[in-house]
Every structure is written in C-alpha cells, then in structure tokens.
Amino acid sequence: MEELTRLAVDAAKEAGASYADARYVCTRQESVATRNGLVEGLTSSESRGVGVRVLVGGAWGFAATSDLTREGIIGTARLAVRVGRASATALKEPVELADCDPIVDRVETPYDKDPFEVPLEERIALLLDCDRIMAQSAEVSLREGRLRCVREEQHFASSEGASIAQERTETGAGIEATAVGPEETQTRSYPGTHGGQMMTRGWELVDELDLPSRAGEIAREAEELLKAPHCEPGTEDVIIDGTQLALQVHESCGHPIELDRVLGTEASYAGTSFLTPDKLESEFRYGSEQVNITADATLPGGLGSFPYDDEGVPGQRVDIVKEGIFSGYLTSRETAPRIGLRRSGGAMRADGWESIPLIRMTNINLEPGTWTLDEMIQDMGQGLLLRTNTSWSIDDKRLNFQFGTEIAYRIEDGQIVGIVRNPTYTGITPEFWGSVDAVQNRDGWVIWGVPNCGKGEPGQSAHVGHGVSAARFRKVRVGVLEEK
C-alpha cells in the first residue's frame, strides 16, 4: 500500500504539483438480506484503487484509478496534475492550507468479534429466526432483515511526509416488518431505519442488539398501526427519541456546520447554510440552554469515528453548540484559516478511493441531559412521543424541515394511551431547537449510525454517527399529511 501511495505522490510532484497526497483504499463488504423467509441477497464485494489529489498553480486537481500497475499510478498522478492546471485557468485566489504535522502511524479500530469470521450460516440463521417470529403476525406481509460488515484498509501519503495506515471495521444489522392494508402500508423497524444500526464495532454489536427479542414487538406494532388514528394537524408538545432525533440533528445541525458548505462549495447541489460565519462571532442562539452539541471523531464505536481524516489530520472533538449558543464548525486544512483557525478540525473524508475528500460529519451529538424518559412523559401532560424516522426533507439553507416517523405514541395526563399513524412534524431550525425544555440523560444515549449521508458532485455517501437520547420540544406543528 505504502509503495503505491508514495509512487503516486512522487510522480505528482515530478509533474509539477506543489502539494500532493494519495490514498490507497481497499474496501471489503459482506451483506445478507432476507425477505419473507428467503435469503434474497448474499453478497461479497471488494473494491480497491488509488486517488491522487494535487495543488497546481494554487488550484486543486484529482484523478483516481483502479489500475495499480506502476504505469497506471504514474499516469493517474500526471492526469491529476493536468486536471489541476485546467482548474488554475478559472481560479480567483490560490488555495492555502493550514499547517499539519506530517504523521507516521499505523492504527486499527478495535473490535471484540471479527464479523467477517462469523459463519455465513450463523448470519443467515439469525435473520431467518427473526423472520419466523415476525411471520406470526397475520397482517405483516413483508418481513425484511439485513446484516452488513465493512472493512476499509487505507494508506495515506503526502508530499509533506505523512504516512498513515488505517484499518476500520464496521458492523450493522436491522429488521423491518410491514403490514399492508387498503391504500395503506405501515412499517416498524428495529433498532432503527436506514438498515438498522451500524457502528465501528464488530459482531458484538449484533449480539447486543438481540434482534429476535424485538421481532415480535415490531410486527405487532406494524399491524396495530393499520388501525390506529391518523396524526391530526395541530400544534403539540413532542418528545422525539433517538431513532428520529439522530436524523433531526443530522439535517438541521450536522450539515449546516460543514464549513465548506457555509463558504459556498455545495451551493449548486444541497445548498448553503444559515449558520454563516458572522453568527459564530455574534454568538448566535441556535437553541435553548438545554442544547449542547458536539462533533466528536474520537468516540469509541461511533460510525463517524476515525483515528485520522483523509488529509492526515487527527480526529478531534469540537464544541458546536454550548448551552444553546453556536460555537464551532467542522473544518478542513483549506477552510480552517478562513475563520481564523490555525489548524484543521480533522473532518475531511472521501467515499472510497475514487472520490475527493470533503468535509463530512463525524459523530454529531446532542449531549445528554438530566431527565429520565419517564419523567419527561409524566411531566409533559399532553403530547406525542415520536419514534423511528421514515421521511425527511429540509430546505437548502437548513431552515425549513419536515420529517415523518413510523409511529407516534399519544400521551395524555402524563401517560401513553395509544398510538398514532403517519405522524409528521415541521418547523424552522432555530425556533425548533429553541423550544427544547428537557433532554434525556445518558440512560437513553446511543450513537446511531447513519451510513448513507449524501454530499458532493459526483455524489458521495459517508458513514456518520449521532449520539443522542430523547429530547422534548414545545409547540411543534404536527400532522402535515392530509388524511384522505
């Protein structure tokens, strides 16, 4: 690996780059997918290649290849320089990078049980066991299960002398039960949607999730939802648990704090951000005093955790919102100096060998509060408890959002009295976070993995995490879907 990246960097410098880095990445994945008692998919994939990034005349160029011959690597490095020269013909100001100590290191993320060593028969049997349990619910006509493990080996080399070898292992699992009625389908998932839960851990995660123990419950809830009352339009107090709040944090905080987006680099695609740099200086109130948000790449097991980012900068913890006040961004070597920082916050990651690194979320966490969930419900009086994301949308400055969840629990007189189907809620980001008056304690705090965060052109998908427990929001507009 090191030989390939060193060859690429040297070839790029010879071709005229003032700065060059190269990443060799080899990604292996194995996945199992079951559906209605059948093993629908049993797949093993492997992809490896080298991506070369250069600065030429102050402008970026990038080229990537899966041809790992000497000729292939050198040719790709030269192509990256050629691309950089083309960029330099439409450059306003040369790129300047914050200083970075060139690190030499070799690290692997820890796990207890190697998921790749778990026999395929055992993985299949686990999901089919869940399937049999879900099949006991007569109205559940669709039963799905997924298991996935990923191992990424990477070597990073730079013209500044960095040489970093990293290996990360990720494991994920989840099950879904869908009940189908006339003009209506209702799905319940465990432990969450978007494939379930995923973390930078081994098979021990799957053991802890104990999928079969919850299979019957989600099947019954899917059936019950078909007959449940529709979420009526109105304004309610809501408690949002981690299986939905993770995505709320993702969309309304994680994306708007990506400094490259703030500075306009994504303007044509997903947009910009309302969290402009003047708001950092003016101590903008993002949320109530109960709201404390951090970006932390050092959290053990988080899907957004890593030892070093794809510029060779160590993963870090950064305060984003402190007691409701906007306090920080996710940064890179190029963007950090633009807000007066001497060093990058280490948030640059690329989707595989074939993509350039972009500023990506690490683990963006709502820090736990002091309440228990029971206290929050009892104290609430009247409202809804929303659980498990099912739809999401937000505007291109990250202000107006709308989410749907799989289920809501109706709360009356401080007790759960029933369930509600098709719950939706909408709001404007700072008003919404300003309405937080209670955050659950660490008992409910889980780092939820989001393995499908999209950004960039060409599009990239990142694995990120969100440590959240439940939070309570006052006077939220709910029930946006009209009942026909």
Binding site: A33, L38, V39, E40, G41, L42, T43, S44, E46, S47, R48, G49, A59, W60, G61, F62, A63, A64, T65, S66, T76, L79, V83, A86, S87, T89, A90, K92, P119, I124, S141, T178, V180, E183, E184, T185, G264, T265, E266, A267, S268, E354, S391, W392, S393, I394, D395, L399, N400, Q402, G404, N422, T424, T426, E457, P458, V480, L481, E482, K484
Partner: protein
C-alpha cells in the same frame, strides 16, 4: 471509450472459471470527469477511471454474488471463487428462476458525439464562459459540468452475450445574487448540445428577476412547473411504485389499479429504454431485452415494469428492467417519458391569472408512497404570476402534495421535452398544488 467487445471476452472467460451450475458475469468500464465551481472559481476538479466485475453463481437454487474491480485473470478468479463459495453456504431460494438464455437485442443508433472524449481543459473553458456571464451581472456562479463514457458486457453460462456503450454530458448552473438565486441545467447524450453560455444566461436572468422576493401564504396555488420540477416528481413516482416488486407486494399505488383511472386523461407516461434520444440501453442487468412499457395511458393505469422474478409472480412476461443481482430492490424504470402536449411555458404563464412559476424542487422525499405524497421545497427561481405575467420573485415554499393528485389537475402540457432529473418530460401547468409551509428566503 474502450472496445466493449473486449469486455464480453473478459466476461466469458470469467464464466468459464466458475465451478457453479450457473454463472452470470457483468463487466463494466467507465471513465468520467467532473469540473465543479463555486464562488466564480473552479474549486473541485476530478477524473476517475473505473472497472467493475459482478459475478452471480448458483448451485441449484443457492445463489451467491461477489463483486470486485480487479479484471486481471487472478482478480477475476478470486471474485468467481468468492461468489461460488458463498453460494455453497446459501439456503435454497425458491424464487430463483435460473439464468435466462441468449436473446436478440434491438440495435439503437445513439449519438453520443464527443462526450466520452471531452477533456478537463474543455470543461474548464466552458466554466470560464459561465463565470464571465456571472461577473457581468454581478452574480456568483456555482455548479458542475460532467462528461464521460462507459461500456458494459453481460455473459452467462446459458449463452447470454450482451454488450453496449454509452456516454453523457451534464451541466448545472446556479447563479446567486444578494437576495435570490436562479438555476438552469442540461443533460445530453452529445456534449455538443450543451451551450454553457446560454445555460448560464438563463440562470442569471432567473436570479436577477427574482431579486427581493416577497412572502406568499402557503396553501393551494396554481403552478407552472418547469421541466426540472416535473422531472423530479415523475422520477419520484418511479421510485414509489412503478417497479414490479412493490406492485406484487401490494405496496404500490398501481397495485389493484390496473385498468382504473389514477390521474387525468391528458396524462400518458411510459418507460422506453430503446428511445435513441434518451440514453438507450437494449438489455437489462440479466441480459433480458428491454421492452417499452406503457405505465399510465390517458390517465388509466396499464402496467408496471418487471424483471423475471416479479413477472413470474405477477403472471406476465418480463419487460427487461432487472437491476444487477441480487437486485433486492426489484425492477426499476430508468427511462420514464411523460408525453408532451401542445403548450409552452410562455403560454402557461400567459393563461394564469394568479399562480407560481417553479423552476425546480429541492430535497423531495416520499411522505406516503402508496398515496404518492411527496414533500420538498421550491428553489432557485420561484416567481409570482399575476394576470399572465411574472411580477415578483417569491420566497421559497414547502409543498406536501400527491403526485397523482397533481397529475389529475394538469391544465396544460408543454410541447417541448428534455431530459430533466433523470426523466424525459415537458413543463406542466397544474391547477391546484398544495404548499404546506414556507422558509425565510
């Protein structure tokens, strides 16, 4: 682009390496470049050369799939072995029909021009023109220009031998002013059809003319939807329920509706992967010949797209819409066409007493798929129409609206179509379209 016959030979060699009862190999190569710009500067510029190998191996009805990107003999051998090894560990899949046999494929003459050969220097030159237009109007340009080519071959142990090549060019331009934005896009098979300066002028005009936008109350409004907005709605419809898997599982808005009216009688929607104007590809990912499928005809639900598995469950013939194994999502309509009418955007505006012109939607997502309800935002050029004229820019609105409901309220259909957001569509004037919220800009 590389000789696609070379890929077929590689695929056939990989098939011969396999110990399985049946083996299917898909080999593909691609080379693409994308020049991205923001703040009137090229800030990202990438090229990529990729290869891919996908092997499906079956012992009886036990099926395993492996992928790799090493096309050396050793690399292919390892990938084939992995597929066969995991197939041996599999359970029997009673839905597995075995691999298809050889077939004849339609010959479609497609004009890709120089798209695959367009260079980083060529793209940079186009971006410089866009930036010149931006600076002349005091605007900031951002966007991306991508070009590339690809080739694919499918071979299997039953004798399927299918190959084809393709290329594309895609440009988007967003112009940003102090209080507004405007956007224009083009997707083409032949890069010569893309006039970067003209596209930039359209985006710039929208940004300038929508400056100082006013607030509009959400609620139901008459809307004129340009092609990018329509393409977004139609593409989402494809995801929500034109695939055979959702249909047979009763999760689709088409389930139980074949032969019934589902939208206005002026709406006809079909999928056609053999249309030479729209990235033709004559076979699916199993090597089954692609068919044109009439989905909705004059408002009546007619059919969905099928692969061999869903076709067998539905009791119909496959339509050649399989995705690559293991294809857990099911078949997918990748070439949606909305039939044009006889109007124009100008005529739609002129005929509207009060309404909104929508350039595009943003971040649309299915809120209730079986009711085809989507939510999303307007963006990059939303205008108030009063008495047949565009009068003011409007702050962006959130919509929550059923797509079939909107297609039941179509008053006028554009006569011009273009490839927009992955579908070939005209503009539409819709009598009533529900906006459920608004944002601050």
């Amino acid at each position: 682009m590389s000789d696609h016959d070379g890929l077929l030979e590689l695929g056939q060699r990989a098939v011969e390496m396999s110990p399985a009862d049946e083996t299917e190999v898909i080999v593909s190569r691609g080379a693409s470049g994308l020049t991205r710009y923001a703040n009137n500067t090229i800030h990202q510029n990438v090229t990529q050369a990729s290869t891919a190998l996908r092997v499906r191996a079956a012992f009886g009805r036990r099926v395993g799939v492996a992928t790799a990107n090493d096309l050396s003999d050793e690399g292919m051998r390892r990938c084939v072995k992995r597929a066969a090894d995991i197939a041996r560990h599999q359970e029997e899949n009673e839905e597995y029909l075995g691999l298809p046999g050889p077939a004849e494929y339609a010959k479609v003459e497609a004009d890709y021009g120089g798209s695959a050969r367009f260079s980083p220097e060529d793209r940079a030159a186009a971006v410089r023109e866009i930036i010149r237009v931006a600076e002349a109007d005091g605007l900031t340009a951002s966007g991306a220009f991508s070009t590339g080519g690809s080739a694919m071959a499918i071979a299997n142990s039953k004798g399927v031998a299918a190959t084809d090549t393709g290329a594309s060019a895609d440009i988007n331009v967003t112009m940003t002013g102090p209080t507004s934005t405007g956007r224009a896009t083009r997707t083409a098979m032949n890069v010569a059809e893309i006039d970067a300066e003209e596209i930039a002028r359209v985006a710039a005009r929208k940004a300038v003319e929508s400056a100082d936008p006013i607030e509009i109350e959400p609620g139901e409004h008459t809307v004129v939807l340009e092609e990018d907005a329509v393409g977004d709605l139609i593409g989402q419809l494809g995801w929500m329920g034109f695939g055979g898997k959702a249909f047979v599982e009763q999760r689709s808005f088409m389930s139980g509706k074949i032969g019934q009216r589902v939208c206005g009688e002026n709406i006809t929607l079909y999928d056609d992967g053999l249309d030479p104007r729209f990235f033709p590809w004559p076979f699916d990912y199993e090597g089954v010949p692609r068919q044109k499928v009439m989905l909705i005809e004059n408002g009546i639900a007619r059919a969905v797209v099928h692969d061999r598995t869903t076709a067998a469950r539905a009791g119909v013939a496959p339509t050649g819409h399989a995705l690559a194994a293991p294809a857990t999502w099911g078949p997918f309509p990748g070439h949606l066409h909305l039939v044009p009418g006889d109007s124009s955007v100008e005529e739609m505006i002129a005929s509207t007493e009060r309404g909104l012109l929508v350039t595009r939607f943003h971040y649309t997502n299915a809120a209730h798929p079986i009711r085809t309800e989507l939510t999303g935002m307007t963006r990059d050029g939303t205008f108030l129409i009063e008495n047949g004229k565009l009068t003011r820019g409007v702050k962006n609105l959130r919509f929550t609206q059923g797509v079939l409901g909107a297609l039941s309220e179509v008053e006028l259909i554009g006569k011009r179509t273009r490839i927009a957001e992955g579908s070939l569509v005209p503009a539409l004037k819709v009598r009533r379209f529900r906006f459920s919220g608004a944002t601050e800009f």
